[in-house]
Symmetry: C2
Subunit: 214 residues, 2 copies
Amino acid sequence: MSIITIERKVLEKNDEIAAQNRALLARHGIFAFNLVSSPGSGKTSLLERTFDHFGGAVKAAVIEGDVQTDLDAQRVAKFNVPTVQIVTAGGCHLEANLVRDALKNLDLSSVKLLVIENVGNLVCPSNYDLGETMKVVVASTTEGDDKPLKYPAMFRNASVMIVNKIDLLPYINCNIRELRANALRINPALRIFETSCATGAGIPEWCAWIREQL
Amino acid sequence: MSIITIERKVLEKNDEIAAQNRALLARHGIFAFNLVSSPGSGKTSLLERTFDHFGGAVKAAVIEGDVQTDLDAQRVAKFNVPTVQIVTAGGCHLEANLVRDALKNLDLSSVKLLVIENVGNLVCPSNYDLGETMKVVVASTTEGDDKPLKYPAMFRNASVMIVNKIDLLPYINCNIRELRANALRINPALRIFETSCATGAGIPEWCAWIREQL
């Protein structure tokens, strides 16, 4: 019982800091999404494609969350996007206080779009509000069409689902209609995009949607 | 600080129960592996292929761990393998006490091989000993070749890595030599198998290895 109480206190404290982050981002008119998925679903590839599409026309910044290494930050920084790396050193999700500290390293007055790339984990990050405008969940076709049913919290808490790696559909056993239906069963309000970071399919639609939010 | 202390207490308690599980399994001469991976890497498909290959010749049992649903247990049970489902209801990993309770529902005297399929999560399950003989980590080629570097704890704590979905290598950007090298950099003692649950490639070698362990 004591553990549950402490967990709740941790979450309450987290939510308090998340609210402060949210107010700070709102003051600067920044649209911020918390990008979540399993490991290897293509979060970083999606960011590469997105920044390549924008070609510097959107003032963006990235906070990268990783258990170890700054490999993802290196990939994103190539697009001349200010990037702050958080290494959780074993931690399975980002928390609001880590994002708060990362925000201090960005010049928010020159940012319109902030992407917080979370640790690759389809379970734990769903519980932690970071102060983002919304969560965007990436689901790779290669993970199968049952994932929204098996990991419902993440799909319930997200506002957008990106079905990535659609170029692989001919080679795998994944019914994309079933995947969409399963996701909408969990969260009927989910906005869905279908993309391939290998071919670029769906990237213009996704980027047009981001522009609408700015 | 208090949280760290409590975390440690939780882990100490977990390790105590895990040791009891391990002793119980040893008494029955059971080889048990804790099957871990990201969501959708193919853990359940690997079990289907494995039990299909054995065709009932190996006395097996399965404990299925899932955040929600018994979809995986239904798939495994089709092979007439005694299966106990643990639904963690949001929990991001199995713990030793859950496995202890599940073991009470199995007739251990008629089991030689026990598979504990963990929650799909490449971070949290690495910290929790369940009493298994060893951890087996599944890495899908579609997740990319950098995963051992980015999620090192799991690859360090595993004894075996199964590189799954090798049939998709012609269509994706994954260098399997690099994946193997990255994994061995983290854990030089790792035993590696390459499999495809779509084509059956590598399954005989993997099953032969299991037989050697029994």
